[in-house]
């Protein structure tokens, strides 16, 4: 599916900031059949680009002149693979096993251990893992209501599960925490979602789990969109992967001065029609 994406992020400061640095992870990934047809990121300041350990393309920008606003606009056209429930081969220098270790945001508490044990029996290396993970996805999405504003961006998986609500990021974190509690490598994906039915487009987050038996034993990553309670499909555009939100967030930065910060994000994702 071809998607036309525009992603605008605006930070406004109540008094000028004297310095800012931002890590921008808003360049679509290129593996697993996803193709970038055009892509451009507009930013202020000095900028340099690098590929991080997870294979994400990161644009770093720094500003040393006083500024009351930072505006980042990423836009372009991406083609996503048509298949749902695709399995990707491993794609970065960080081995899959490293994603089996919980991070501070994805530590399992008793409730997560219980949830994980309900869905995944055994160690997670068995042939039935995919089915178990679908059960887990279903459990998480049934237990947790998708409600904006009930968690902040640094809520842990355990906190989100305890209040039985959160945003896509929280649902993904709970899924990751449960996988890791059973020793299954799982990673966080940030990207975009085109919701065809409601025509709502947004920044989105979901999870991928390592299916060791896939690809004739070579293993592979499979995407679980916990919020939508379905396997990842063509409506998703992958931007960045990491152990949790902090590794893969679309933008993360630090400033000096600036007093109050206001952040606005506008995302539009549309199906592009060839020939138009």
């Amino acid at each position: 599916m071809r998607l036309e994406i525009r992603h605008e992020t605006i930070y406004r400061y109540s008094s000028p900031a004297s310095y800012s640095i931002q890590y921008v992870r808003q360049t679509p990934r290129t593996e697993g059949g996803q193709r970038t047809l055009s892509w451009y990121i507009d930013t202020p300041g000095r900028r340099w680009r690098q590929t991080d350990a997870y294979g994400n393309s990161v644009l770093v920008l720094s500003l040393t002149e006083p500024h009351s606003e930072i505006r980042v606009v990423a836009q372009g056209e991406v083609e996503t693979p048509d298949e749902r429930g695709m399995v990707f081969p491993h794609d970065s220098a960080v081995p899959p096993l490293a994603f089996a270790l919980p991070t501070p945001l994805t530590q399992a508490d008793d409730a997560i251990h219980k949830l994980a044990a309900e869905a995944i029996s055994g160690s997670g290396a068995d042939a039935g893992l995919q089915v178990s993970l679908e059960v887990l996805m279903n459990l998480v999405s049934k237990r947790m209501a998708y409600i904006l504003g009930t968690t902040d961006v640094h809520a842990t998986a355990a906190e989100a599960l305890a209040q039985e609500s959160g945003v896509c990021q929280d649902l993904a974190h709970v899924f990751l925490a449960a996988c890791r509690a059973r020793g299954v490598p799982a990673r966080y994906i940030s990207g975009y979602l085109l919701d065809d039915a409601s025509h709502v487009a947004s920044s989105h987050a979901w999870a991928e789990a390592w299916i060791a038996t896939a690809n004739r034993g070579a293993g592979g990553w499979m995407g679980f969109d916990v919020t939508q309670n379905r396997l990842a499909g063509p409506e998703l555009c992958r931007l960045a992967v990491g152990r949790d939100y902090l590794d893969a967030s679309p933008i993360r930065g630090m400033r000096l001065g600036g007093a109050e910060e206001e952040m606005k994000v506008n995302v539009t994702v549309e199906r592009s029609h060839i020939g138009l």
Partner: protein
């Protein structure tokens, strides 16, 4: 206590040859003179402010690290062997770090189980794909060595642990020597002692050798967490000795793919950071986001190869106690050599049969947390009460992966001034091994001494003192 090797006195009372001139001096010197000199040392150390903040029970208190005037003397041929063994070991550890952060050969070849490396909390995935200058990760290693008695009355050196993160203590090595030369200059005319004063020059030279490619006259800084850190004295001392800036995170910033230091003359580029801050606190945009000690964006400049961090990030995976048992295999694997220094036999509690041995024999063993450092989170079986042993057994049972155990070594002892006169006290040795274009070290290192009778814990945070360490030139 059982069979203990005394560094100075051979069994039967004879003084070992390399201590004979010291013994003569001791016999000739009036006790009142020595007492006066010891008092002088104490007051001088207080004046310089060489103290150590204590963690744990006495948290918040600063304590003087006791200095003992009886030197630890190492004959030239013994040091030569130690030096070769240390260089070999640190070379292999650097090769291991380079391997796991690039092609991961040692894991693919099955020498070390993948989970041991990649599910280790000290493994830093962020280091994958970073091209580290000269493939050196642990530029400064503080390798802890002990000497233990063998049943035949001889003794053997063992490596207890490899400290590859931010090993401290080298300032005590330098100050102890300065103090000995000031208090007892006459002793140094009786012995030809290998100098250690050039350590700061070696350190600076090492740091300059690993500067980013293309930088001819690199700017080096020492990065400290600040005056409240227990080793702040050492940070300031080393910066001053090397003649480089001592900075905190707030003095540095990243702009235009470059690291800068704020100075009164405007921003100045920084090429090499001798950092005395743990990985977790280096860059709030990559590691702990609540860290106010680091530099936001530092990791991006590091990844671009435009700044060198000494030590590199992620070295903790090689000095972790769960990886320690594999170091002899690393030496064979990377260097095709046989290890020159011995490892202490180690039981890995994550292995079922070794765990049952440990649980059944805890009274005899030293049990350590794999990620612990500084003598915290460990049990010395023979020196513990039954309740302490039982409590520890519960902890190990609950999380066996987190523990290893070793036989209690009969650490060698060195005569030491105590309240009742001179008595043997257990010692260890921490040489500081520098790796740049080559491996170098100041002869000897820091000798720590457990001042409590019978105690085997020499850590300064646990009531240990220090001694000057003499490597003889002939």
């Amino acid at each position: 206590m059982k069979n203990i090797f005394d560094e100075m006195n051979a069994p039967g009372g004879a003084v070992r040859p390399h201590y004979s001139r010291f013994q003569e001096w001791l016999a000739q010197t009036p006790p009142a003179h020595i007492a006066a000199k010891r008092a002088e040392a104490d007051s001088a150390f207080h004046r310089y402010g060489i103290t150590f903040a204590v963690y744990g029970e006495d948290a918040g208190r600063e304590r003087l690290i006791p200095f003992d005037i009886v030197p630890r003397i190492i004959p030239a041929d013994e040091w030569k062997k130690l030096e070769a063994g240390l260089a070999q070991r640190v070379n292999a550890l650097n090769a291991f770090l380079h391997d796991i952060y690039s092609s991961q050969r040692i894991v693919k070849d099955g020498l070390i189980p993948a989970e041991q490396v990649f599910c280790n909390a000290q493994y830093r995935p962020e280091m994958q794909g970073i091209d580290v200058r000269n493939s050196i990760y642990a530029h400064i290693a503080g390798v802890d060595i002990v000497r233990a008695a063998l049943p035949d009355g001889q003794a053997e050196y063992y490596v207890l642990e490899d400290n590859l993160r931010v090993p401290s203590g080298v300032s005590y090595m330098l100050e102890d020597r300065r103090m000995m030369m000031r208090l007892f200059p006459e002793l140094f005319s009786r012995y030809s002692v290998a100098p250690v004063e050039h350590y700061p020059d070696l350190l600076l030279d090492t740091l300059r050798q690993v500067a980013p490619a293309g930088v001819d006259d690199p700017a080096v800084v020492v990065l400290t967490p600040g005056a409240y850190n227990s080793a702040y004295f050492e940070h300031a001392f080393l910066a001053q000795q090397m003649g480089v800036e001592l900075v905190e995170g707030k003095d540095l910033f990243v702009h235009d793919e470059t690291l800068f230091m704020r100075t009164t003359q405007g921003p100045r580029r920084v090429d090499v950071i001798y950092r005395r801050i743990d990985d977790d606190f280096l860059d709030p945009l990559t590691f702990r986001r609540d860290s106010a000690l680091g530099v936001a964006g530092l990791m991006s400049v590091y990844r671009s190869g435009r700044v060198t961090l000494a030590n590199a990030i992620g070295t903790g995976v090689a000095d972790d106690k769960s990886i320690y048992p594999y170091v002899p295999d690393m030496i064979r694997f990377y260097l095709s050599e046989e290890p020159l220094l011995l490892n202490v036999p180690t039981y890995q509690c994550r292995k079922k049969d070794e765990l049952s041995y440990v649980l059944a024999n805890m009274e005899k063993l030293v049990v350590k947390e794999t990620h612990g450092a500084g003598g915290y989170g460990m049990l010395v079986g023979p020196a513990s009460t039954q309740k302490e042993v039982d409590d520890f057994r519960v902890r190990v049972k609950a999380a066996p992966d987190k523990y290893i155990a070793q036989p209690t070594l009969a650490l060698s002892a060195c005569p030491t001034f105590v309240e009742a006169g001179i008595a043997p006290r257990h010692i260890d040795l921490r040489p500081f091994v520098l790796s740049g274009k080559e491996v170098r070290m100041a002869p000897g290192g820091l000798t720590r001494v457990a001042l409590k009778e019978g105690s085997l814990v020499v850590n300064s945070s646990q009531g240990g003192g220090t001694k000057d360490t003499w490597v003889l030139e002939k």
